[in-house]
Symmetry: C2
Subunit: 266 residues, 2 copies
């Protein structure tokens, strides 16, 4: 997420120092599945029409056109996009001055257990709903504690709206406001401080809900030196816990974030 | 790899039909490590100065500048690059007309066992060397059969030259020719036909050696409907076999290839 709904860059509050104690498993990767049987793709295809928070869309120019069937040569394109296009990762430095950028994130932080918080029912009733601490505790009562170093993913069911275009994904109200579910800042703080998670993910355009104007979930995640994935898809194919996420974020120099191929091993 | 050394697009031979029987493990992921202890990053940072086969380099424009230390807002950039920039994957359709493009590659083909062929000693003596069938057989005698569905990676030691810039990476001869190691077409055909590999990788700019003008390894790999990773790094941190590769290729619509975050689980 980069700009607010009116296309202006958000320049918000000044706060305290960046909290720089990300969860980095020291003794091997936790909660490793004994033998994963399948790979679930959690990334949308990136295209010139994909839903985006910003108005600017990716572009693709053909440099060397596709060849006739069976002929050998070289076909390729040139791409241009904002870092926060498609399924992508927000690095802490996207949100907080001095925060880590994409190449600063250790590889061990990109292979983590996934915890899926299913809020589809509530989101279908109320598109402005946010993930709460109670959602986390309820998940833990059913499935056990959130493992240290996990990525906690909001599963709102929103990814099916990608086929319908920006207006549906943004949940455009008649008055121009946006309505989609997001992470509550209190739940993010709880998961960082009490559970030591590595990162977060949402199947919507932004970690904060569509109605947000001050982006407190982004701020909590960024100040905690954690990453956030946005625009995930395929979460219906993950178990509530037990999958391992591999976050293939494009390693751009000085990048605040980047399109990411997120593959889950189940 | 996209263009030849003179910057011209290569339009080569017409051949037979595309061979479309890629190795797709049906019954779970083979050769899964019991519990990986670390993650090895096999991708170079993508930057405006990174070594490239083509003359065109990636560009990064700052759209919203980095914030002062500790302030909250949104910092991000815009990137433009050719699909075959940085550590990247060639889809079959990069090379063969009608071949599969990036989104056509199944997620299961992107999480595969890695086999590392160490040809550093020979490459240090002869930059024009290629990986042979005998190299594969010698590896198998020492480490056991190449597992079906593997990615076979040439480890030439070339990635250390990335710090020295294009001329060193290309192995520029005084007469303008290029010299770096690559895959031999016979070894590629053997690995596809006899071992059922999923893909290939090299730590140089191109699957074919720098001297190549007709790119037979590309042709064999593309016609066999397999993918090829180019510009890998970090191979010295992998065992000869036993690691699992996760290929985080950016899923661009109609893309012939894309920058890829390749993480190995060891």
């Amino acid at each position: 997420m980069c700009l607010n709904g009116t296309g202006e860059t958000v320049r918000a509050r000044t706060g305290g120092p960046v909290h720089a104690e990300p969860a980095r498993p020291e003794a091997g990767l936790p909660a490793w599945p004994s033998r994963p049987g399948r790979v679930v793709d959690l990334s949308h295809v990136l295209s010139p029409t994909t839903a985006t928070f910003d108005e600017e869309k990716p572009t693709r120019e053909t440099v060397a056109p596709a060849l006739p069937e069976g002929e050998v040569g070289f076909h390729f394109n040139r791409w241009t996009f904002l870092e926060h296009s498609g399924t992508h990762l927000d690095a802490p430095g996207h949100v907080v001055g001095g925060g880590r950028l994409v190449p600063d994130i250790a590889p061990e932080e990109l292979v983590v257990p996934a915890v899926v918080l299913d809020v589809r029912e509530r989101a279908a009733q109320d598109p402005d709903t946010v993930v709460t601490v109670e959602d986390v505790l309820e998940h833990e009562r059913a499935h056990g504690p959130v493992p240290e170093g996990s990525a906690v993913l909001m599963f709102s069911g929103w990814s099916t709206k990608w086929e319908q275009g920006d207006a549906a994904v943004r949940g455009m109200g008649t008055e121009g406001t946006w309505h989609f579910p997001g992470l509550g800042a209190e739940a993010c703080a709880f998961l960082v401080e009490k559970r030591g998670v590595s990162g977060f993910g949402v199947d919507t355009l932004s970690s904060d809900p569509g109605t947000s104007t001050d982006f407190p979930a982004h701020e909590v995640i960024g100040r905690a030196d954690r990453w956030g994935l946005e625009c995930l898809t395929g979460l219906e194919r993950l178990p509530p816990r037990g999958a391992v996420l591999t976050v293939g974020v494009m390693p751009g120099e000085d990048a605040s974030g980047a399109p990411s191929r997120v593959l889950a091993l189940v």
